[in-house]
Every structure is written in structure tokens, then in C-alpha cells.
Amino acid sequence: MNLLKLLPLLFLFFAAACSTLVLQPADFNYPVESVISIGDDGIAKDERYSLSFNTKPLFFEESGDSLAYVGKEIRMIRNTQGYYFITSKNFKNVYVFSADESAMNMKSKILISETGILNPAFNQRNPYVELMDGSNKTKLTAEGIESEEQK
């Protein structure tokens, strides 16, 4: 009988112990994109945000050539949700990554142009990330293209 009376209390105790602490809302956006030159070792280092990662698999994924990174620079921006949008000149796609333990995991690969993006640049346009290519502007989310605008 006494044990039955204590059950709700025990339930509350276990529920509290198992819940995850969540801090929200959180905003991860970069006000302006980072333009990062890739080192000879294939590592891109963003000095401002103290972030570095290996770009060789990215270039291999885009071009099938693991040495295609040489002498290149990438453009990267982080949206409000914390996803990294990465592309480079002549890439056909914008790659979206999430941060993981000592790694970046691809969430999506957004096809922008079959002929390649000639002059890419990201702008932060909450809640979207805007991709500019000359006068073309494309609004992106982590899932894909939201809208396209041509002038």
C-alpha cells in the first residue's frame, strides 16, 4: 500500500533524471560568409571562427578528383539552425553539413547548376541562406532550394 503511494514520486524522479538539458532558442548564423583558401594539405582553416576541416572528400565528391582542391578557395556560411553551407567556384552543388564529433556530416547536397556556379557568394538572409551567382539569387534552406530569383 505504502509502495503504491510512493510510485508517482518515483516516476517523477526518474523522469527528471532521464531528460536532456536543452538551451533554446539558439542562433548559429554567420553574419557574413567566410572565404577560405585551402592549404596544400587540403585543410580549410577559418581563422575568424577557429574552425578547420579536411576538404579533400568534398572536392572528390564534387569532381571525382581528390586533388581538385589545390589552389582553390571555398565559401562557407552557417545558417541560424547551425548548418554549414559550402560551395566553391565552378561547383554544381551547395553542400550542407552539420557539426559532429571532430567531423562534419553531410545533411544534403543541393544542385544549383549543371554548368557550375561561376561566381558564388553566400549572404545571410534569415531564415534563408542566399546564394548569389552574378545576378542570380537562390534562397536555400538545409533541405534544398526555397526559391530562385533572376534579374
Binding site: 553574419p31 553566400f122 549572404n123
Partner: protein, 418 residues
């Protein structure tokens, strides 16, 4: 410089017109690039007019990028839009003050240089006049007053000219720049100022004139102390600028011979003043034909004096007694206790040119000399004084001797009366 401004303005306008097609990144980079260009312009301008041409550019930057303030505030961390513009304005203001200060200093330097030129001319005339008077005064005593007046005028004139040269050196650079490392602009300023105002020539000439002055005059301790003070002040100012000038002259002219000459001249001046002190002391003895061995240090002076005294002690009993006594009186009473000790000894000790022990050595030898010349025997003077004292006491005693007592009635009579 004007072309650079025009070019950068056109570039800025071009970016501004095209800012609608720019990515945020390009806007931020363009803003940063404009800031850098303006900073560079502020650093590179060489006149106040050129600097004033930068001011509208700062205003244009503020106006052109105000629309992107929010983006720039976020992107320029740890600065922001306003802080970046404020930094430019502060740099502009500091540079502007530099030019105003330089302008003031240049005007001051010009005025000083004119005065130095006038005094240079006057001092040359006075030194020449002094040399003539110095030789004339030996034969014509009437010229002595004129000589002394000319010396006083020359001394005052030299002092004023030295002060002007010190001001001239001080005016070459703002005092804030002298203590720290000099920028390329400040080095140019110092070099040009020095060259256009013949600063090195004037310093050398000033030292040379001071040396000539020491050469043609005999100084009193007060004069020496005053010249020493001037010398120290001159030297202090030169030391604050001199090493920097050595570097600059080495860079600009490939040699620094002038500066080495100035350093050597300062040393000569310092030595000459020290020698002049000893010469003036020797001069005091020479007036009484007391010829001492040459000396140029406290030790040599002590040796020279004690050697003279030793010789004189040996002469006691050999030479004429009157002459021996006269030599002692002139040496001890007239020169040592009359002039050297009251006027020079404290100066020599204060300036570490002589020690107390050396002074005591000389005075001990003087006592020994006195003992030989005037031996402490029975002194008739004391006897006469003692006799006089006895006479005075006796006279007083006699004067005070009580007169005969007046008649007093016998005590018994008094009792009866009562």
C-alpha cells in the same frame, strides 16, 4: 598624393554604385579596404593641406556605407561601423595636431635661427675686441675697465646664444617624439630641420666660441660654476637628440663625422673648463710671483703646493729672513687664506677636483712652514698684554679703594637717647 586620393575616391564610388550587386562579403571587404586606404593616406600625407583633403573621404565613407551599418556591425568584430570611422577620425585628429605642432615649431625655429645668426656675428666681434683689449690692458691700465665690460657683454651674449641653440635643438622635434622611437616622417623632419637651420654648424660654433672665451679670460669660481651649468644643460639637450641624429645622418648622408666632431668638441669644452679652473688658481699665485709647478688635477695641485712649501722650509735659515717671511705671508695669508681657500677650495671639493684630505695635507704643511718661519718661543707680545692687564687691574683696585668711614656716634649714646 592627390592622384592617389582621386583614384581611391573613384574606386570607392565604383564599389558603392555596384554595391547593390555585391555579396555581403564584398561589401565588408570593400569597407575594410577603404578604411585601410584612408589610414594609409593619413600616415603618408606630408602637409596639412594634403591631410585636409582626407577629411571629405572619411565623410564619404560614412555616408556610403551607412546603409550597411547592421551588416558591418556584425561583421567587423571586435570593431563595428561607428568604431571604425571613429578610429579614422582619431588618427586624422592626431596627425592634424602633429602638423599644427610642426608648423608652430617651424615658425619658432625660424625666429630662433635669425637670433642665433645675429648673436654669432656679435660674439665674433666681441671675442676679437676682447683679444685686442687683453693685450692692450697689460700696457694701458685704463683699458682694464673696458676689458671687464667687454668680458661681461661677451659672457652674456654667449649665454644667450647657447640658450637659443638649446631652444633650436628642442624645437626640431616635439618632446613626445624625443623620448620614443622615431617614425620615418619624424626622422625626415629632424634631418631637414637640422640641415636647413645649420644646427650642427651652430652647435660646433657655439662650443668653439666658448672655448675661445675660456682661452682669453681668467675666470672666478662663480663664472666657472655658471659656465659649468650651461655646459651641462647644453650637453643634456645634445644627448637627448644627438644619438638619434647620429643614426639619421648615418642613413641620409652615409657618415656621421659632424656628429663625432660635436662629441669631441663637447669633451674639449669640458676639459678646457677644468683646465681653466687650474689656470685661474695658478694665476692667483702668479700675481705674487709665486711660481708653482704646473698642475691640472687635485693631486698635482697638492704635490705642487707641498713641493713649494718644502723648498721654502729648506730656505729658512739660508735665505734672508725678511724675504722668507714675506714669501710665507704672501703665500699663506694673501693667496691661500685670502683667495684660494675662500673662493676655490669649496668649488674644487664640490666638483670632486680635490679631496678634503688633500686640502688638509696642504694646511698641515702650511702650519709646519709657519712654525719654521715664526717659531713658537717666548712671545713678548703676550708679556706686554699681561703687563697691561696687570696695570689695568691695579688701577681699578686703587680707584675702588674705600675712603675713610664717616663719623658714627657711639652705640651707648644712642641707647641713652632711646
Amino acid at each position: 598624393m592627390k592622384k592617389l586620393f582621386l583614384f581611391s575616391t573613384i574606386i570607392s564610388l565604383f564599389f558603392f554604385v555596384n554595391s547593390f550587386a555585391q555579396s555581403d562579403y564584398e561589401i565588408v571587404e570593400n569597407f575594410k579596404s577603404n578604411i585601410k586606404q584612408i589610414e594609409q593616406s593619413i600616415r603618408n600625407v606630408v602637409t596639412l593641406d594634403e591631410l585636409n583633403e582626407v577629411s571629405p573621404k572619411i565623410d564619404a565613407l560614412r555616408t556610403n556605407f551607412r546603409a550597411n551599418k547592421e551588416l558591418l556591425d556584425k561583421s567587423l568584430y571586435p570593431d563595428n561601423f561607428d568604431k571604425s570611422i571613429e578610429k579614422l577620425e582619431t588618427a586624422f585628429s592626431i596627425r592634424s595636431k602633429d602638423f599644427i605642432q610642426i608648423d608652430v615649431l617651424q615658425t619658432e625655429v625660424y625666429g630662433l635661427r635669425e637670433q642665433v645668426d645675429v648673436l654669432n656675428k656679435r660674439n665674433t666681434e666681441l671675442i676679437n675686441q676682447l683679444a685686442v683689449l687683453e693685450s692692450e690692458s697689460k700696457t694701458n691700465k685704463n683699458k682694464i675697465a673696458q676689458l671687464e665690460k667687454t668680458i661681461a657683454e661677451l659672457k652674456a651674449s654667449l649665454k644667450k646664444r647657447d640658450e637659443l641653440i638649446i631652444s633650436l635643438i628642442d624645437s626640431l622635434l616635439p618632446s613626445s617624439a624625443i623620448s620614443g622611437e622615431l617614425s620615418a616622417d619624424q626622422k625626415d623632419q629632424l634631418f631637414n630641420g637640422s640641415e636647413s637651420n645649420s644646427v650642427l654648424y651652430n652647435i660646433k660654433r657655439s662650443i668653439r666660441d666658448n672655448l675661445r672665451f675660456l682661452d682669453v679670460t681668467t675666470l672666478k669660481p662663480d663664472d666657472v660654476a655658471e659656465i659649468k651649468r650651461e655646459q651641462q644643460e647644453f650637453s643634456r639637450v645634445w644627448k637627448s637628440v644627438g644619438p638619434k641624429m647620429v643614426d639619421i645622418y648615418a642613413q641620409k648622408k652615409g657618415n656621421a663625422n659632424d656628429l663625432k666632431e660635436i662629441d669631441a668638441a663637447f669633451n674639449s669644452w669640458h676639459d678646457a673648463l677644468r683646465d681653466e679652473v687650474w689656470n685661474s688658481i695658478r694665476e692667483e699665485f702668479s700675481i705674487y710671483n709665486l711660481n708653482l709647478r704646473n698642475f691640472s688635477s687635485g693631486n698635482e695641485f697638492t704635490n705642487s703646493v707641498t713641493a713649494f712649501i718644502n723648498d721654502e722650509i729648506k730656505n729658512v735659515g739660508v735665505r734672508d729672513e725678511t724675504q722668507v717671511k714675506r714669501t710665507y705671508t704672501e703665500f699663506a695669508d694673501s693667496v691661500w687664506f685670502g683667495t684660494i681657500k675662500p673662493q676655490w677650495v669649496s668649488y674644487l671639493i664640490d666638483n670632486k677636483m680635490m679631496t678634503d684630505a688633500q686640502k688638509d695635507t696642504i694646511e698641515t704643511r702650511l702650519s709646519e712652514w709657519k712654525e719654521k718661519v715664526e717659531p713658537a718661543g717666548f712671545n713678548w707680545l703676550y708679556l706686554i698684554i699681561a703687563a697691561l692687564v696687570v696695570i689695568v687691574v691695579v688701577l681699578l683696585f686703587i680707584k675702588r679703594k674705600p675712603s675713610l668711614p664717616k663719623f658714627e656716634p657711639p652705640l651707648d649714646d644712642m641707647k641713652e637717647t632711646v
